[in-house]
């Protein structure tokens, strides 16, 4: 067992959505390098509770890097210094004894702070509700092999589908843009045959919802791709822009009386 780490944490504390927040310093002593980042926060919270203090609120759920709940800004990087990981999969061996660690919530108009490090990411759900789905008729599922899909399309769709909705792309973007998130779903469904009927309507309505939620626009800084724990490429943003442009050019009026059969 290696020696424990002694760290200084600078943590954003905010009692509620409308309360004024501030950075508060904490000593985290004798932290095992084998702990995950969240376990380190658990230990700090245990000690805070024991000493009669108020524990630091942070989001977490699966703690195995697939649920997307646990994002925080760690030393200025979304999910911390390690690439392709969520905060729960970041381990304390990444840090050195004596390190100072700044921990902040995601910052975006679309992600209001609920308490301390917890933000409300339901704006992302509303973007999905605007068109990030396919409408499938009921009945027995047809044979999977009945719809041939080129390998490359299947691969690109799967890569985009890896999004866990953690919001790191928004957090890392200097514009607080949700373009990577929105475009990942547009690419995932737009690459597959099942996504085609709603493809262009989807691009228009998801982009409209993204703007409505108060997220910024994409200026291709590239920070989102670097922050994404699932390694989703900004190529998906190109796909979104292409679909949006094509959708705008080919949009047809929806018929009001016809179409009933």
């Amino acid at each position: 067992m290696s020696a424990g780490l002694n760290l200084t944490l600078h943590v954003w504390r905010q009692a509620g959505p409308n309360a004024a927040g501030r950075m508060v310093d904490y000593k985290a002593t004798d932290i095992s390098p084998e702990m995950s980042f969240l376990e380190m926060l658990d230990v700090v919270n245990e000690r805070l509770i024991e000493s009669g203090g108020d524990p630091i609120a942070f989001d977490h759920d699966c703690r195995e890097g697939i649920c997307g709940m646990c994002g925080v800004m760690i030393n200025g990087a979304a999910h911390g210094p390690m690439k392709l990981t969520t905060a729960c999969q970041l381990h304390m061996r990444t840090f050195k004894d004596g390190d100072e660690i700044t921990i902040e919530p995601w910052r975006a108009a679309g992600f209001p702070v609920v308490r301390d490090l917890v933000v409300d990411r339901s704006a992302l759900d509303r973007i999905i509700q605007a068109g990030g789905y396919i409408s499938a008729p009921t009945g027995s599922a047809q044979d999977a092999n009945a719809l041939p899909i080129p390998k490359q399309d299947a691969d690109e769709a799967m890569d985009a589908a890896a999004c866990i909705g953690c919001g790191a792309c928004v957090a890392a973007c200097p514009n607080s843009s949700a373009s990577l998130f929105t475009s990942a779903k547009i690419t995932h469904l737009g690459k597959l045959p099942q996504g085609q009927p709603e493809r262009y309507r989807r691009a228009l309505s998801m982009v409209a919802q993204m703007d409505l939620e108060g997220f910024g626009g994409c200026t291709l800084f590239g920070e989102c791709q670097e922050a994404c724990p699932k390694g989703i490429s900004i190529d998906s943003i190109t796909q979104m822009n292409r679909d949006y442009l094509w959708a705008s050019l080919t949009k047809r009026e929806e018929k009001k009386v016809a179409g009933a059969g």
């Binding site: 200025g76 910052r107 108009a109 843009s177 910024g216 291709l220 920070e223 442009l245």
Partner: protein, 219 residues
């Protein structure tokens, strides 16, 4: 709101407008730079070229000017509105945020763009209308250039603009291909060779004029 209004209201729509106008403006700076290099072919050749543009094909010149003016207005308006929205999208900033991969060029787009706009207005007043030129001659375009760049501050102002133009093109040309959706998927999407080459060629090509005068190669 009509379809066009909705398109303009959307953040992606505004970016597409910036991309299309960007393509027009990049095409213009390449042509303008190539035309400028005739400066080194001597006064007669350069003045004849200026006469061609300002008299012989003036109608065509005005069509190009009109397109460019509309492009600049749309490009700047969209950039301003998007910048304001992007600022509003982060009402409370981080105490600490470390840029991971964003380039210096991408972070200079906004203030660099403002510098280029100021430069553009000065430049038109300098060499097109002659308002800011100490000894402007309608027919002696070569002399106008040679006299203007004898002033070191003026030459430096132009060279500064060309450095920022290089950064603007380096990010802008690459971003444009992605905004307009014609960039192909890439294993390394941050790579930008074509943008790098065009940025260097255009800015160095333009810079040769003030440099050659201020360093005394052309008298």
């Amino acid at each position: 709101m009509g379809a066009l209004g909705k398109f303009w209201e959307s953040s992606v729509g505004k970016k597409i407008v910036m991309g299309v106008t960007g393509v027009i403006l990049v095409g213009f700076v390449i042509g303008h730079m190539a035309g400028n290099l005739q400066f080194f072919a001597g006064a007669d050749r350069y003045n004849a070229y200026a006469r061609l543009l300002k008299h012989d094909i003036i109608e065509l010149t005005w069509i190009v000017r009109g397109t460019l003016i509309v492009s600049v207005i749309l490009h700047v308006t969209a950039a301003y509105q998007l910048t304001m929205r992007n600022r509003a999208a982060r009402p409370a900033d981080y105490a600490l945020r470390e840029p991971q991969v964003s380039t210096y060029a991408s972070r200079t787009m906004r203030w660099g763009g403002v510098y280029l706009l100021v430069f553009l207005l000065y430049h038109i007043g300098h060499f097109t209308t002659g308002w800011f030129h100490p000894a402007f001659s309608e027919t002696g375009t070569w002399g106008n250039v040679a006299i203007a760049f004898k002033s070191v501050p003026v030459a430096l102002f132009y060279l500064g603009a060309m450095a920022l133009l290089a950064l603007h093109l380096y990010h802008g040309i690459w971003a444009c291909a992605r905004t307009l959706g014609f960039a192909r998927p890439s294993a390394n999407p941050l790579q930008r060779r074509i943008a790098l080459v065009l940025a260097i060629v255009v800015s160095v090509g333009f810079s040769l004029l003030p440099l050659s005068v201020v360093l005394g190669f052309v008298r």
